[in-house]
Symmetry: C2
Subunit: 129 residues, 2 copies
DNA sequence: CTACAACCTGGAGTTAACTCTAAGTCAAGG
DNA sequence: CCTTGACTTAGAGTTAACTCCAGGTTGTAG
Protein backbone atom coordinates (compact mmCIF):
# COMPACT_ATOMS: atom_id res chain seq x y z
CA UNK A 1 0.00 0.00 0.00
CA UNK A 2 1.44 3.37 -1.00
CA UNK A 3 1.61 6.31 1.36
CA UNK A 4 -1.13 7.98 -0.64
CA UNK A 5 -3.47 5.06 -0.15
CA UNK A 6 -2.82 5.05 3.58
CA UNK A 7 -3.49 8.79 3.65
CA UNK A 8 -6.84 8.30 1.97
CA UNK A 9 -7.76 5.33 4.10
CA UNK A 10 -7.18 7.20 7.35
CA UNK A 11 -7.73 10.79 6.24
CA UNK A 12 -4.29 11.90 7.34
CA UNK A 13 -1.54 13.71 5.44
CA UNK A 14 1.59 12.06 4.05
CA UNK A 15 3.63 14.57 6.02
CA UNK A 16 2.08 13.36 9.24
CA UNK A 17 2.71 9.72 8.34
CA UNK A 18 6.38 10.47 7.59
CA UNK A 19 6.62 12.52 10.76
CA UNK A 20 5.22 9.65 12.85
CA UNK A 21 7.80 7.34 11.38
CA UNK A 22 10.65 9.81 11.72
CA UNK A 23 10.11 10.47 15.42
CA UNK A 24 9.21 6.86 16.23
CA UNK A 25 5.47 6.97 16.85
CA UNK A 26 5.45 3.96 14.52
CA UNK A 27 8.36 1.66 13.66
CA UNK A 28 10.18 1.93 10.31
CA UNK A 29 7.79 1.18 7.46
CA UNK A 30 8.56 -1.50 4.86
CA UNK A 31 10.16 -0.07 1.70
CA UNK A 32 10.43 -1.10 -1.95
CA UNK A 33 13.87 -1.75 -3.46
CA UNK A 34 13.87 1.89 -4.57
CA UNK A 35 13.24 3.17 -1.06
CA UNK A 36 9.56 4.02 -1.45
CA UNK A 37 7.26 3.21 1.47
CA UNK A 38 5.10 0.15 0.86
CA UNK A 39 2.87 -0.29 3.90
CA UNK A 40 2.24 -3.90 4.90
CA UNK A 41 -0.62 -5.05 7.15
CA UNK A 42 1.63 -4.76 10.18
CA UNK A 43 2.73 -1.23 9.28
CA UNK A 44 -0.88 -0.28 8.77
CA UNK A 45 -1.84 -1.73 12.14
CA UNK A 46 0.73 0.54 13.79
CA UNK A 47 -0.58 3.53 11.85
CA UNK A 48 -4.15 2.73 12.83
CA UNK A 49 -3.24 2.43 16.48
CA UNK A 50 -1.17 5.60 16.45
CA UNK A 51 -4.07 7.56 14.98
CA UNK A 52 -6.52 6.00 17.42
CA UNK A 53 -4.44 6.86 20.47
CA UNK A 54 -3.53 10.31 19.22
CA UNK A 55 -7.24 10.97 18.67
CA UNK A 56 -7.75 10.12 22.32
CA UNK A 57 -5.22 12.77 23.29
CA UNK A 58 -2.36 10.40 24.08
CA UNK A 59 0.84 12.41 23.59
CA UNK A 60 3.28 11.52 20.84
CA UNK A 61 5.98 11.05 23.49
CA UNK A 62 4.02 8.24 25.09
CA UNK A 63 3.53 6.44 21.79
CA UNK A 64 7.25 6.73 21.08
CA UNK A 65 7.97 5.26 24.50
CA UNK A 66 5.67 2.34 23.78
CA UNK A 67 7.31 1.62 20.43
CA UNK A 68 10.74 1.73 22.07
CA UNK A 69 9.64 -0.76 24.71
CA UNK A 70 8.06 -2.97 22.09
CA UNK A 71 11.27 -3.01 20.07
CA UNK A 72 13.29 -3.82 23.18
CA UNK A 73 11.54 -7.21 23.36
CA UNK A 74 9.49 -9.33 25.76
CA UNK A 75 11.37 -8.20 28.86
CA UNK A 76 9.48 -4.91 28.64
CA UNK A 77 6.01 -6.41 28.88
CA UNK A 78 5.61 -5.16 32.45
CA UNK A 79 6.63 -1.66 31.48
CA UNK A 80 4.33 -1.72 28.47
CA UNK A 81 1.40 -2.87 30.57
CA UNK A 82 2.03 -0.07 33.05
CA UNK A 83 2.26 2.49 30.26
CA UNK A 84 -1.03 1.30 28.80
CA UNK A 85 -2.72 1.38 32.19
CA UNK A 86 -1.49 4.89 32.78
CA UNK A 87 -2.81 5.92 29.38
CA UNK A 88 -6.11 4.30 30.25
CA UNK A 89 -6.45 6.34 33.43
CA UNK A 90 -5.56 9.56 31.64
CA UNK A 91 -8.13 8.91 28.94
CA UNK A 92 -10.80 8.01 31.50
CA UNK A 93 -10.13 11.28 33.33
CA UNK A 94 -10.34 13.24 30.13
CA UNK A 95 -13.58 11.55 29.16
CA UNK A 96 -15.07 12.45 32.51
CA UNK A 97 -14.32 16.08 31.72
CA UNK A 98 -15.97 15.72 28.34
CA UNK A 99 -19.09 14.44 30.06
CA UNK A 100 -19.16 17.39 32.43
CA UNK A 101 -18.80 19.81 29.53
CA UNK A 102 -21.59 18.03 27.67
CA UNK A 103 -23.89 18.38 30.65
CA UNK A 104 -23.15 22.06 30.86
CA UNK A 105 -23.70 22.49 27.13
CA UNK A 106 -27.00 20.66 27.23
CA UNK A 107 -28.17 22.84 30.08
CA UNK A 108 -27.26 26.02 28.23
CA UNK A 109 -28.68 24.88 24.93
CA UNK A 110 -31.89 23.91 26.70
CA UNK A 111 -32.19 27.33 28.26
CA UNK A 112 -31.52 29.15 25.02
CA UNK A 113 -34.07 27.05 23.19
CA UNK A 114 -36.63 27.75 25.86
CA UNK A 115 -35.86 31.45 25.52
CA UNK A 116 -36.38 31.05 21.77
CA UNK A 117 -39.85 29.62 22.28
CA UNK A 118 -41.06 31.89 25.07
CA UNK A 119 -39.21 35.00 23.99
CA UNK A 120 -37.87 35.42 27.50
CA UNK A 121 -34.43 34.62 28.86
CA UNK A 122 -34.42 33.75 32.54
CA UNK A 123 -31.29 33.40 34.63
CA UNK A 124 -31.73 31.00 37.49
CA UNK A 125 -28.26 31.50 38.79
CA UNK A 126 -27.47 35.16 38.32
CA UNK A 127 -25.08 34.73 35.41
CA UNK A 128 -24.90 33.29 31.97
CA UNK A 129 -22.61 30.88 30.24
CA UNK B 1 -11.52 36.76 45.44
CA UNK B 2 -7.90 37.36 44.48
CA UNK B 3 -6.29 35.85 41.42
CA UNK B 4 -4.28 33.59 43.70
CA UNK B 5 -7.40 32.21 45.32
CA UNK B 6 -8.95 31.52 41.93
CA UNK B 7 -5.73 29.78 40.86
CA UNK B 8 -5.87 27.52 43.88
CA UNK B 9 -9.57 26.86 43.55
CA UNK B 10 -9.24 25.70 39.93
CA UNK B 11 -5.64 24.53 39.85
CA UNK B 12 -4.67 26.89 37.07
CA UNK B 13 -1.87 29.46 36.83
CA UNK B 14 -2.33 33.22 37.20
CA UNK B 15 -0.71 33.60 33.80
CA UNK B 16 -3.40 31.49 32.21
CA UNK B 17 -6.16 33.43 33.96
CA UNK B 18 -4.71 36.73 32.74
CA UNK B 19 -4.23 35.26 29.28
CA UNK B 20 -7.88 34.15 29.13
CA UNK B 21 -8.97 37.64 30.04
CA UNK B 22 -6.55 39.33 27.67
CA UNK B 23 -7.63 37.38 24.59
CA UNK B 24 -11.32 37.39 25.55
CA UNK B 25 -11.97 33.81 26.64
CA UNK B 26 -13.65 35.47 29.61
CA UNK B 27 -14.95 39.06 29.87
CA UNK B 28 -13.01 41.72 31.77
CA UNK B 29 -12.73 40.80 35.44
CA UNK B 30 -13.90 43.16 38.19
CA UNK B 31 -11.03 45.26 39.62
CA UNK B 32 -10.33 47.03 42.92
CA UNK B 33 -9.80 50.80 42.93
CA UNK B 34 -6.09 50.09 42.63
CA UNK B 35 -6.54 48.00 39.49
CA UNK B 36 -6.10 44.59 41.09
CA UNK B 37 -8.38 41.77 39.94
CA UNK B 38 -11.12 40.96 42.46
CA UNK B 39 -13.12 38.06 41.04
CA UNK B 40 -16.86 38.22 41.73
CA UNK B 41 -19.24 35.25 41.49
CA UNK B 42 -20.01 36.13 37.91
CA UNK B 43 -16.34 36.37 36.96
CA UNK B 44 -15.73 33.04 38.62
CA UNK B 45 -18.61 31.47 36.73
CA UNK B 46 -16.97 32.54 33.46
CA UNK B 47 -13.64 31.14 34.60
CA UNK B 48 -15.23 27.87 35.61
CA UNK B 49 -16.98 27.51 32.29
CA UNK B 50 -13.88 28.43 30.33
CA UNK B 51 -11.86 25.76 32.12
CA UNK B 52 -14.62 23.21 31.70
CA UNK B 53 -14.93 23.77 27.96
CA UNK B 54 -11.18 23.97 27.41
CA UNK B 55 -10.84 20.66 29.26
CA UNK B 56 -13.25 19.22 26.73
CA UNK B 57 -10.98 20.35 23.91
CA UNK B 58 -13.06 23.33 22.82
CA UNK B 59 -10.66 25.75 21.14
CA UNK B 60 -9.94 29.13 22.69
CA UNK B 61 -11.16 30.77 19.47
CA UNK B 62 -14.61 29.31 19.96
CA UNK B 63 -14.84 30.54 23.54
CA UNK B 64 -13.79 34.02 22.41
CA UNK B 65 -16.50 33.93 19.77
CA UNK B 66 -19.10 32.99 22.37
CA UNK B 67 -18.07 35.81 24.69
CA UNK B 68 -18.25 38.27 21.80
CA UNK B 69 -21.75 37.12 20.95
CA UNK B 70 -22.79 37.27 24.58
CA UNK B 71 -21.52 40.83 24.87
CA UNK B 72 -23.34 41.81 21.70
CA UNK B 73 -26.65 41.19 23.46
CA UNK B 74 -29.86 39.20 23.09
CA UNK B 75 -29.97 39.45 19.31
CA UNK B 76 -27.18 36.88 19.17
CA UNK B 77 -29.05 34.14 21.00
CA UNK B 78 -29.56 32.19 17.79
CA UNK B 79 -25.90 32.39 16.94
CA UNK B 80 -24.94 31.39 20.47
CA UNK B 81 -27.25 28.40 20.38
CA UNK B 82 -25.76 27.29 17.08
CA UNK B 83 -22.24 27.67 18.42
CA UNK B 84 -23.08 25.60 21.48
CA UNK B 85 -24.71 22.91 19.37
CA UNK B 86 -21.67 22.76 17.12
CA UNK B 87 -19.44 22.45 20.17
CA UNK B 88 -21.69 19.68 21.44
CA UNK B 89 -21.30 17.69 18.23
CA UNK B 90 -17.53 18.13 18.22
CA UNK B 91 -17.26 16.97 21.81
CA UNK B 92 -19.51 13.98 21.16
CA UNK B 93 -17.32 13.00 18.20
CA UNK B 94 -14.19 13.32 20.30
CA UNK B 95 -15.71 11.27 23.08
CA UNK B 96 -16.53 8.52 20.63
CA UNK B 97 -12.85 8.37 19.71
CA UNK B 98 -11.92 8.18 23.38
CA UNK B 99 -14.21 5.19 23.75
CA UNK B 100 -12.62 3.43 20.79
CA UNK B 101 -9.15 4.04 22.23
CA UNK B 102 -10.29 2.73 25.60
CA UNK B 103 -11.57 -0.46 24.00
CA UNK B 104 -8.27 -0.95 22.24
CA UNK B 105 -6.34 -0.28 25.44
CA UNK B 106 -8.45 -2.71 27.44
CA UNK B 107 -7.88 -5.37 24.82
CA UNK B 108 -4.13 -4.87 24.86
CA UNK B 109 -3.90 -4.67 28.63
CA UNK B 110 -5.95 -7.83 28.88
CA UNK B 111 -3.62 -9.66 26.56
CA UNK B 112 -0.51 -8.49 28.34
CA UNK B 113 -1.90 -9.52 31.70
CA UNK B 114 -2.77 -12.91 30.34
CA UNK B 115 0.78 -13.22 29.02
CA UNK B 116 1.98 -12.27 32.49
CA UNK B 117 0.04 -15.13 34.08
CA UNK B 118 0.68 -17.82 31.51
CA UNK B 119 4.16 -16.73 30.53
CA UNK B 120 3.17 -16.89 26.89
CA UNK B 121 2.31 -14.05 24.52
CA UNK B 122 -0.05 -15.04 21.75
CA UNK B 123 -0.91 -12.87 18.80
CA UNK B 124 -4.35 -13.54 17.44
CA UNK B 125 -4.03 -11.06 14.65
CA UNK B 126 -0.46 -11.32 13.43
CA UNK B 127 0.76 -8.08 14.94
CA UNK B 128 0.99 -6.26 18.19
CA UNK B 129 -0.09 -2.90 19.45
C1' DC C 1 14.61 8.08 -23.77
C1' DT C 2 11.88 11.63 -22.04
C1' DA C 3 8.14 13.55 -19.42
C1' DC C 4 5.90 13.88 -15.42
C1' DA C 5 3.66 12.64 -11.30
C1' DA C 6 4.51 10.70 -6.97
C1' DC C 7 7.85 9.80 -3.92
C1' DC C 8 12.09 10.80 -0.95
C1' DT C 9 15.00 13.54 2.86
C1' DG C 10 16.60 17.19 6.00
C1' DG C 11 15.46 21.04 7.83
C1' DA C 12 12.79 25.22 8.47
C1' DG C 13 8.22 27.29 9.49
C1' DT C 14 3.56 27.43 11.62
C1' DT C 15 -0.14 27.21 15.03
C1' DA C 16 -2.48 26.95 19.43
C1' DA C 17 -2.15 27.64 23.97
C1' DC C 18 0.08 28.83 27.11
C1' DT C 19 4.34 30.51 30.03
C1' DC C 20 7.86 33.55 31.24
C1' DT C 21 10.30 38.08 31.88
C1' DA C 22 11.12 42.83 32.95
C1' DA C 23 9.89 46.73 34.89
C1' DG C 24 6.80 48.86 37.42
C1' DT C 25 2.47 49.49 41.06
C1' DC C 26 -0.32 48.28 45.19
C1' DA C 27 -1.12 47.10 50.01
C1' DA C 28 -0.31 45.18 54.65
C1' DG C 29 3.15 44.82 58.65
C1' DG C 30 6.75 47.06 61.51
C1' DC D 1 7.74 56.05 55.75
C1' DC D 2 9.80 51.70 54.33
C1' DT D 3 10.11 47.12 53.16
C1' DT D 4 8.28 43.08 51.23
C1' DG D 5 5.41 40.32 48.67
C1' DA D 6 1.55 39.97 45.61
C1' DC D 7 -0.10 42.17 41.91
C1' DT D 8 0.04 44.79 37.17
C1' DT D 9 1.17 45.17 31.88
C1' DA D 10 3.34 44.48 27.34
C1' DG D 11 5.68 41.69 24.94
C1' DA D 12 8.84 37.85 24.11
C1' DG D 13 9.68 32.81 24.54
C1' DT D 14 8.29 27.90 24.76
C1' DT D 15 6.15 23.48 23.60
C1' DA D 16 3.72 19.94 21.06
C1' DA D 17 2.41 18.46 16.93
C1' DC D 18 2.37 19.02 12.91
C1' DT D 19 3.15 21.31 8.07
C1' DC D 20 5.73 23.10 4.46
C1' DC D 21 9.67 23.60 1.32
C1' DA D 22 13.74 22.81 -1.63
C1' DG D 23 16.16 19.91 -4.08
C1' DG D 24 16.68 15.37 -5.50
C1' DT D 25 15.01 10.26 -6.86
C1' DT D 26 11.73 6.69 -8.60
C1' DG D 27 8.69 4.69 -11.64
C1' DT D 28 5.26 4.56 -15.26
C1' DA D 29 3.25 6.06 -19.80
C1' DG D 30 4.18 7.46 -24.47
Amino acid sequence: MTIKEVCEKYDITADTLRYYERVGVIPAVTRTAGGIRDYQDEDIAWVENAICFRDAGMPVEMLIEYVKLFQAGDSTIDARTNLLKEARETILEARKKYDIALEKLDYKIGRYELAQKTGVLTWDDGEDK
